[in-house]
């Protein structure tokens, strides 16, 4: 039977919908659908019924208004000092990214991934959690490490893959790992870490611990099947975990529409499992902090998982291997929600805790720190200059104890 002959006459032919969204025309709101004014969205009680939270599914948690004033129920309890720390962290991340992108152009490193525009998300959430909690990040949360005080120099050694790389040159640049700083080893395989985070949180709860886990995924990778396993196990066992989806609207060349499907928002996915879900302005440091804290408190109070869709935009290329001009509309705005650094800066100025001079000084200081760190790291060479660890170290850590066949292979490799 030729499939085409089925129902040769009868109803109208079927059509498949192939999403062709962002690339078409040029809608003003292509990156900012369902935008709430700052302060509008109410803050539910920690144990609010999920059905009631679901009614807010197209709203967006926003705290900073256009004048830099923090408004509404979500305004977090942060001191000016804490806000300035946040600003410094974000500026450090941005400067760090810029320096390493330059290093790539200089041919010193093999690969790099920046998080331009997404700095607030990792930096603020890191601050809303506690030491001992564990993040299961993707490759765009360098802000977690920087905010946790992980030495930038060590990060650079990793990126340079030089002899001081704590991962011994085994991993692609930016695939950091630091248990001590609550940063789970980055995989490279998308989405796998999402369900692992749920497992880690389950373990903490099984043991009667108090630490919670935070899972990270891009909106594109939420299409992977492990996302389902993560939400399901989190829902079934009410694991103390934050399920972050960073919706930066692009997955390499693919617009978010492919992973979102017919849903209005990625937060909707949570409601399919009765997991309370928020949409949050990811470029608003205060909103990120407040929402992360709300989710963390829910987890710590044994109220189970929370899903958060962070609305933001991938400003730069996917990675140094990517050139977005081939697929991205050229008229798109880089910061439709505002630059997270500018917005926090504006807020600090608005509350009288910051001014342009201090900002310029901080900027210079941060750049100098990054620069000094890079010079120091660079002095140890890189994979490109051949200053890497002893090749025979690649046989270590495959197993806890080197088995016989790897001993033999190591000998051959040496010979």
């Amino acid at each position: 039977m030729d499939p085409d002959d089925v129902h040769a006459e009868g109803p109208a032919p079927l059509r498949l919908r192939i999403p062709e969204p962002v690339r078409a025309a040029s809608p003003k709101d292509r990156y900012t659908r369902h935008l709430s004014p700052a302060g509008e969205m109410r803050k539910p009680a920690l144990d609010e019924k999920v059905e009631r939270v679901a009614l807010m599914r197209k709203q967006l948690v926003r705290v900073l208004d256009d004048d830099g004033i923090a408004v509404g129920e979500w305004v977090p309890d942060l001191t000016p000092g804490q806000l300035r720390d946040g600003l410094r962290n974000m500026m450090t991340v941005r400067s760090y990214d810029a320096r390493l992108l330059r290093a790539h152009r200089q041919g010193k490193i093999s690969f790099y991934m920046q998080c331009l525009g997404e700095e607030a998300i990792a930096c603020a959430q890191q601050r809303a959690l506690l030491p001992g909690d564990m993040h299961f990040p993707t490759y765009r949360q360098q802000g977690l490490l920087i905010s946790a005080g992980y030495p930038m120099l060590t990060m650079m050694h990793q990126v340079l893959s030089n002899e001081l790389d704590p991962l011994k040159g085994r991993q692609l640049p930016v695939m950091y790992s630091s248990k001590e700083h609550g940063f789970f080893s980055i995989s490279g395989n998308l989405a796998t870490q999402y369900v692992q985070a749920v497992g880690w949180a389950m373990a903490s709860a099984l043991r009667g611990g108090t630490a919670i886990a935070s899972a990270w995924i891009g909106e594109g990778a939420s299409a992977e099947s492990d996302f389902h396993a993560a939400l399901l196990f989190a829902s079934t066992y009410q694991a103390p975990v934050i399920l972050n989806i960073v919706n930066n609207h692009w997955a390499i060349s693919t617009p978010e529409d492919f992973a979102r499907g017919a849903s209005a928002t990625f937060a909707d996915r949570g409601f399919g499992f009765s997991i309370p879900a928020l949409r949050v302005d990811g470029n608003d440091y205060l909103a990120v902090y407040a929402a992360s804290q709300w989710a963390a408190e829910r987890a710590r109070a044994n109220l189970g998982p929370t899903l958060i869709e962070w609305v933001t935009l991938r400003v730069g290329a996917h990675s140094t291997s990517d050139d977005p001009s081939a697929y991205r509309p050229s008229d798109h705005e880089d910061f439709p929600l505002g630059d997270p650094i500018d917005r926090l800066h504006g807020h600090l100025v608005a509350i009288g805790e910051w001014d342009d001079d201090r900002h310029a000084a901080l900027s210079a200081e941060v750049d100098a720190q990054v620069s000094a760190a890079f010079d120091e790291a660079d002095s140890h060479g890189s994979v490109k200059s051949g200053h890497i660890s002893d090749p025979r170290t690649m046989f270590d850590d495959v197993y806890a104890v080197l088995p016989r066949h790897l001993l033999e292979q190591r000998e051959q490799a040496a010979g």
């Binding site: 085994r170 985070a197 497992g199 880690w200 399901l232 197993y399």
Partner: protein, 337 residues
């Protein structure tokens, strides 16, 4: 010494491990309340509570995925996949994650976990209850792979696997759960209670991973086997009157090369048997290894007798299964070559 079936021995290993180390947690589909479809975890939830042994949704990816997270936290998950045929949804978490976590994080995070699963045919299970996927794990650096053939080994190896600091794939040929099945499906099976390897010490003991066991000493030919095929090879040798040296590999990776080489150097002949499909099966690795290390001692080609390169057929499983006739015929040929 108490006599146990392999199911009882596996259950007992869980009991001992959970008693000794409260980081050991056990879960999987139907594993908690009911105790597993093969009853290998029966009684554990009643004894240790539902926080130590529990049921999961039907999601192999989820089971192994959360196990990796738990292991990274510091627990020692020992999980069950209901049939080995259903491990593929979890394959990514095993291959890309559990196997490589230690290496990629330079030891910062580790994944000490055990993934148990029943393997092999012989219960009219058709293509989705009969597979032996060991070769899909032995190709993956970072994993250890164990195949058990009897109650004594099963308990000692499972305890070693749970205590091991690396992820271990633990394969249990279901046809030997209740006795040393020798491939004669038309004869009554001898129960483990009548077999010396059914005698299982109480309490704690381990069998080192990576050590083979000479199941039967002999001089004419070395037979490399594991799981059910150990008993099939023994039946074949007896029926053919061949003085075969049968090695039960027990751990496929790391492989006990010394025991193998010593035997082949002695016999000059080698037969490799397994139930999994022939092409790219673990027998290929065994054949290649023996050939590389014993080339000048070999008096005949190394021969493989394996499952055919087809899905495991329901009605024809005894034609598919490398039983004592096929193994015996090949053994004779190798000895006479």
């Amino acid at each position: 010494m108490p006599s146990m079936t392999m199911i009882e021995a596996i259950r007992d290993a869980h009991l001992v491990a959970m008693e000794r180390d409260n980081r050991v947690v056990v879960f999987g589909e139907d594993v908690g309340y009911f105790g597993g479809v093969f009853r290998c975890t029966q009684g554990l939830q009643a004894r240790f509570g539902s926080h130590r042994c529990f049921d999961t949704p039907i999601s192999e990816a989820g089971i192994v995925g959360v196990a990796v997270g738990m292991a990274a936290y510091g627990l020692r998950p020992c999980v069950e996949i209901q049939f080995a045929d259903y491990v593929y949804p979890a394959y990514d978490q095993i291959v890309s994650e559990a196997a490589r976590l230690r290496h990629r994080s330079a030891g910062d995070f580790t994944a000490p976990l055990v993934v148990r699963m029943p393997t092999g045919g012989g219960i009219y299970g058709g293509q989705t209850h009969s597979q032996s996927p060991e070769a899909l794990f032995t190709h993956v650096a970072g994993l250890k792979t164990v195949v058990v053939s009897n109650p004594y080994d099963a308990k000692g190896l499972l305890l070693a696997a749970i205590e091991d600091d690396d992820p271990v794939i633990f394969l249990e040929p279901k046809r030997v759960y209740n006795g040393p099945f020798d491939g004669h499906h038309d004869r009554p099976i001898v129960p483990w209670s009548k077999h010396p390897l059914g005698e299982v010490p109480e309490g704690h003991y381990t069998i080192e991973l990576g050590k083979a066991r000479v199941h039967r000493e002999g001089s004419e030919v070395t037979v490399l086997a594991y799981g059910t095929l150990v008993h099939v090879a023994q039946a074949a040798a007896e029926e053919q009157g061949i003085d075969a040296e049968i090695i039960d590999l027990r751990t496929l990776l790391p492989l006990d090369v010394d025991t193998i080489v010593e035997s082949v150097v002695k016999t000059g002949r080698c037969l490799v048997v397994h139930e999994a499909t022939l092409t790219s099966g673990f027998g290929a690795e065994l054949s290649a290894t023996v050939q590389e290390r014993c080339f000048h001692h070999l008096e005949a080609p190394i021969t493989r007798v394996c499952g055919y390169d087809t899905p495991y057929p329901h009605a024809h499983e005894w034609s598919y299964f490398p039983g004592p006739d096929r193994v015996g015929r090949a053994m004779r040929e190798v000895v006479q070559a």
